[in-house]
C-alpha cells in the first residue's frame, strides 16, 4: 500500500485496466529491494500470495 493509500489518492482507483481475474501474473524478473537479487512473483508458486503494487508516497 502507499503511504497515501489509507488517505486516498486523487488518481482514479484502477479496476484495474492492467490486471484481470483469471490471467496469469507476468513472470517478469525484477531486482529485489533488499540487495538487488533477481526475483519475480513466480518465485511464490506453490503458495497463495497477496501482492501489493504500491509506492511509499
Amino acid at each position: 500500500m502507499s503511504a497515501r493509500g489509507a488517505q486516498g489518492d486523487t488518481a482514479p482507483r484502477p479496476d484495474s485496466v492492467e490486471f484481470h481475474e483469471g490471467e496469469t501474473f507476468p513472470t517478469t524478473v525484477f531486482p529485489s529491494l533488499d540487495g538487488g537479487r533477481p526475483g519475480s512473483v513466480a518465485d511464490f508458486r506453490g503458495k497463495k500470495l497477496i501482492l501489493h503494487i504500491f509506492a511509499s508516497w
Binding site: 488518481a11 517478469t28 533477481p38 518465485d43 497477496i50 503494487i53 509506492a55
Partner: protein, 380 residues
C-alpha cells in the same frame, strides 16, 4: 504477502517498510515494466500464479481466496529466476526492432551498474527512433536520465531531460498516473496531489526512538518532494530590494561554480506554475570552495511583465564550518501567461556567492547570471 514498488528512488520504500515494520519481500519496478497506471493495487494470486481477485475486500479474502481450491491451468509460462543475459539481449538487437532495443535498454538500467546508464540512454534513443510514439519508451528513458543524474556519472542536463521525457510520455497517455506522479513529485505545489515524502522525517524519528538505525537514503528528498499542495499561487512580496540591480558585481562565468537548472512544469494546466530547480557545484578542477565566513549565498529572480515568483530572493544559509565544497540547491516556483507566449520565455536570474579558488587561494564575491528558460508546452 509480497510487494512491488513503482518509485524512482526505491530505497525510500525500504525506509517506509522499516518504519511500518513490514517485512514482506519487495521487488522494484522503477521502469514501470508492469504497465500499472496507478497504485495501490492489491492482487490475490493463487499457487499457480493466476490472479484470482483484484483489489479484494479484506473480509472476502478468506472465503473467496484462502479457503478456495483452484484448478491448475493446462499450461503455465516458464519461471525465470535469473537476471537477463545482457550479452544475449545485446545480440538480439540485431533483429532491429524497437522491442529488442528496449528490452536491452531496460536490462541495462536494472542489472548493469550506473556506469552503463549512458549506454542505456543511447539504446532507448535508438528504440525511440524506430517507435517515436511509445509512451513507455519515453518514460523509461526519463527514468534512466534521472538515475544517471543521481549517480557519480551525472551530466548537468540529465534532470531536465528526464522531466522532458516524462512529459512526452504523459502527453501520449494522460491517464498514466505512475508517469504523472513521477513528474509531480518534483513539480510545483499547485499540481501536487499531496506531499510525496513528508513522512521521511517522522519515519526517521520513530525508527530511532525504537533504537534502530534508519535505512540510509541515496538521494535525500528535495523541497518539491516534501512540499505540501497549494490551491493558490503564493506570489512573493514585491518590496524586496534587488541586491545588484546594476550588475556591478564581477561575474563568474561558470569556471568557479557550475550551475545547473531544471524546470518542472504542471502536468495538467498549460498556464499554471513551474518549479525551478537550481544546483550549484564548486568546480573541483580549480579546487573551488565556499567561503562561509563572509556571507550567505543569494539568488535573485527578475521577472518579465505578467510573471510571478514565490520568492524573489532566496538566501542559502552557510554551514557552520568556515569553508566547504558541498553541492547546494534551491527551488522556487514561477507562474506566468504561458498560453500567450509564441516562444520560450527567459527569466533573468542570478546568484551572488562568496567562493575561494584553490586551497588557501583567492577568495572573492562573485555573481553568475542564470537565465531560466520556460518553454510553452507545445514547444517541448
Amino acid at each position: 504477502m509480497a510487494g512491488i514498488i513503482e518509485e524512482q528512488h526505491p530505497d525510500r520504500a525500504r525506509l517506509f517498510m522499516q518504519w511500518k515494520q513490514m517485512r514482506w519481500p519487495i521487488l522494484v519496478d522503477s521502469l514501470n515494466l508492469l504497465g500499472t497506471s496507478a497504485v495501490p493495487v492489491t492482487l490475490a494470486i493463487d499457487e499457480y500464479g493466476v490472479i484470482r481477485m483484484v483489489n479484494p475486500k479484506p473480509e472476502e479474502i478468506e472465503e473467496k481466496f484462502l479457503n478456495r481450491r483452484f484448478e491448475k491451468p493446462a499450461s503455465l509460462p516458464p519461471v525465470k529466476d535469473v537476471a537477463p543475459d545482457l550479452n544475449a539481449l545485446k545480440h538480439a538487437t540485431r533483429r532491429g526492432t524497437a522491442e529488442a532495443w528496449e528490452t536491452y535498454a531496460n536490462a541495462l538500467v536494472e542489472w548493469a551498474g550506473p556506469d552503463r546508464l549512458g549506454d542505456a540512454i543511447q539504446t532507448y534513443d535508438h528504440a525511440l527512433s524506430l517507435e517515436r510514439q511509445s509512451g513507455p519508451l519515453h518514460f523509461r528513458l526519463g527514468v534512466a536520465y534521472r538515475k544517471r543524474y543521481d549517480s557519480p556519472f551525472h551530466r548537468p542536463e540529465d534532470f531536465q531531460k528526464a522531466v522532458d521525457q516524462w512529459s512526452a510520455a504523459l502527453e501520449l497517455d494522460p491517464n498514466q498516473y505512475i508517469w504523472r506522479r513521477r513528474i509531480q513529485q518534483y513539480g510545483p505545489r499547485l499540481d501536487k496531489p499531496y506531499p510525496f515524502y513528508d513522512w521521511v522525517t517522522t519515519a526517521r524519528k520513530e525508527i530511532a526512538a525504537r533504537g534502530e538505525t534508519p535505512v540510509p537514503l541515496s538521494v535525500e528528498p528535495g523541497g518539491a518532494e516534501i512540499a505540501h499542495p497549494e490551491k493558490v499561487f503564493p506570489a512573493a512580496a514585491t518590496s524586496v530590494k534587488e541586491p545588484d540591480p546594476q550588475g556591478r558585481i564581477l561575474r563568474d562565468d561558470g569556471q568557479l561554480v557550475k550551475i545547473e537548472t531544471a524546470v518542472v512544469p504542471d502536468t495538467k494546466v498549460a498556464e499554471a506554475s513551474d518549479r525551478v530547480h537550481v544546483v550549484f557545484r564548486p568546480n573541483p578542477a580549480l579546487k573551488a570552495h565556499w567561503n562561509n565566513e563572509a556571507g550567505s549565498m543569494v539568488f535573485w529572480v527578475n521577472l518579465p511583465y505578467g510573471w510571478n515568483v514565490d520568492q524573489r530572493q532566496l538566501t542559502i544559509p552557510n554551514p557552520p564550518q568556515p569553508v566547504s565544497k558541498e553541492t547546494r540547491q534551491i527551488e522556487f516556483e514561477v507562474k506566468g501567461p504561458k498560453q500567450d507566449c509564441t516562444g520560450p520565455v527567459t527569466l533573468p536570474a542570478y546568484a551572488l556567492y562568496y567562493v575561494c579558488e584553490d586551497v588557501n587561494g583567492v577568495c572573492m564575491y562573485r555573481r553568475q547570471d542564470v537565465p531560466i528558460t520556460i518553454a510553452p508546452p507545445e514547444l517541448k
